[in-house]
Amino acid sequence: MPHEKLISLAEAVRRYTWDGMQYASGAALPVGSDAIVFGRELLRQNRKDLHAIFHCNTQQLNLLAAAGAVTRAECGFSGLEVFGFANGLRRAVESGRLALEDYSNLAIPLRLLGGALNWPFVPATVAIGSDIQYRSAFAPDDYPAQKKIPMVTDPFTGKEIGAFLPLRPDLAAIHVTLADPLGNAIILGTEWSRFELSRAAKKVVLIADALVDTACMRQFPNLVRIPDIIVEAVVHWPFAAWPQSSPGMYDADEEHMVAMNKALATEEGTAAYIRDYIDGVTDIPAYLDRIGRDKVEHLRRSSTSFLLDPFRQWLLAAEEVAP
């Protein structure tokens, strides 16, 4: 029998994370849906020495890197799209505090697919023949790198082809638009690599912007790309991807995207950001106050909000779902 899996954010981090673990998040693109609140709680609980698997950098990895919580990271893309370079991640890489292993945006989901299928390797027709293959931040003296994307022989044609190492992260904290209390999830917007990630990770915690009754999942079963049987826990947290966007729910907070990235460019700015936006912001009301209630309403009036219309009748009110 499926059972309810709602727990608090703090409990999820206490239960499923530890220092030195392989932690996957960054569930959509740099400015899109990501479980950024999970990263904020990782800092409140002082997690360290994380090995981050982020298909794309987001403000979550930018923050964790700026705060010194990550020592190794693997990414397909490490900027913030039109918002520019990710200053916190950049500072950590340039100083040598964080080893960033570069892949491409197709290489990462293919590695997750390989992990999900428990394959020994995945054939690579991209990321080969370039310095993504030849240079390894995890093995800097191995040049040209032999172990990062080694060459293998295609048994059918006899030609040489690259081999990607599959990924099996210890935990994936995955942002979803809607979840039910059992752990079924609907994603609005591109799922990017959340489907493969949810199958590759050893454990999955969902961070949902809103909760819905299971009847919603029964109405739209084709849209439930993450089913409850692979989910450990569900955390409900509105505006979980803020300052990034969540299609159907809220727009990117352009002002805070810029201000946050500027703060993360220095040690002092990072300390101030943690003091002002992370320490003590431990419950949902305090979090929404910190964003600013007017801002919350403004961001909610998104041109994408019609995407939520088919699901509104099943939305659960906060008091019905307190863990």
Binding site: L29, F83, D102
Partner: protein
């Protein structure tokens, strides 16, 4: 001169958009390359089949340059949302995509692109952190490997046009000639480097990029002076046509927030 007032960045976007043909399957990276691609759709390629690497199909930007692929400016009128393996894998790395537009921080004479970092001098045998870390490859590597042809769009400054890039993030013709064929890529490589000063195209055999066109406001000497290798003139090199009033109007409908008008 046509008497029209436009910026060098607008000329670059229009020249890039002219490379896109009606009906093609096309992928545009986020940023200015997206404006160039959607300009083509708004102007001469209404049936271009567009996608972004997020697996966002059927969408056009609303309200200006999208901040990112999941931004509300590109997520509010899509007809399909899928995923990265679908867009970058099934439709691009497979060799199915006709054309992709990518950006570059640094490009070399064989069309290899660096978007990973800036080092002082060659990296050497030990991989060390860059002096300035850039964004990494993203989907550009997958497009450069898999699309039938790519268009590289880059601001023409000497520091960005090197004999050899410090780090190949996205492969062009590698060491030139038929070097690409030694690898298992499904795509054909860069067809043009379109810049704020002109258009470079690869020599059919050596694959070295040569000056094919300059713009009405630039000239051969200026372009050579802003290129870090000994730039040759391609056979049949000529001045590119200026933007027409229709082209400029179409571009500005797409570039609603004037991202391309900010710099001269």
């Amino acid at each position: 001169m046509s008497g029209l007032d436009y910026t060098r960045q607008e000329m670059m976007a229009i020249a890039t958009g002219r490379e896109i043909r009606d009906g093609e399957l096309a992928i545009f990276g986020v940023g200015l390359s997206m404006l160039a691609g959607f300009f083509a759709q708004a102007h001469h390629a209404p049936n271009v089949r567009t996608m972004t690497e997020g697996g966002v199909y059927g969408a056009t930007p609303v309200g200006g340059l999208p901040w990112g692929i999941e931004c509300n400016r590109i997520s509010s009128n899509a007809t399909s949302f899928t995923n990265a393996i679908d867009a970058l894998g099934f439709l691009v790395a497979s060799g199915r995509c006709d054309v992709g537009i990518i950006g570059a921080a640094e490009v070399d004479k064989f069309g290899n692109v660096n978007t990973t970092g800036i080092w002082e001098g060659p990296i050497g045998p030990t991989f060390r952190p860059p002096k300035t870390r850039l964004t990494g490859a993203g989907g550009a590597n997958d497009i450069a490997c898999g699309a039938k042809r790519t268009i590289i769009m880059v601001s023409h400054e000497r520091k960005r046009f090197s004999e050899k890039v410090a780090y190949i993030s996205s492969p062009g013709y590698l060491e030139g000639g038929d070097a690409r064929s030694r690898h298992g890529f499904n795509g054909g490589g860069p067809a043009a480097i379109v810049t704020t000063l002109g258009i470079l195209r690869p020599h059919p055999e050596t694959r070295e990029f040569e000056l094919a066109s300059w713009f009405s406001f630039s000239n051969i000497e200026e372009i050579k002076a802003n290129t870090g290798w000994d730039l040759k003139l391609a056979a049949g090199a000529h001045e590119a046509p200026e933007p027409t009033a229709d082209e400029l109007a179409a571009l500005r409908r797409v570039d609603e927030t004037g991202a391309l008008r900010k710099k001269g």
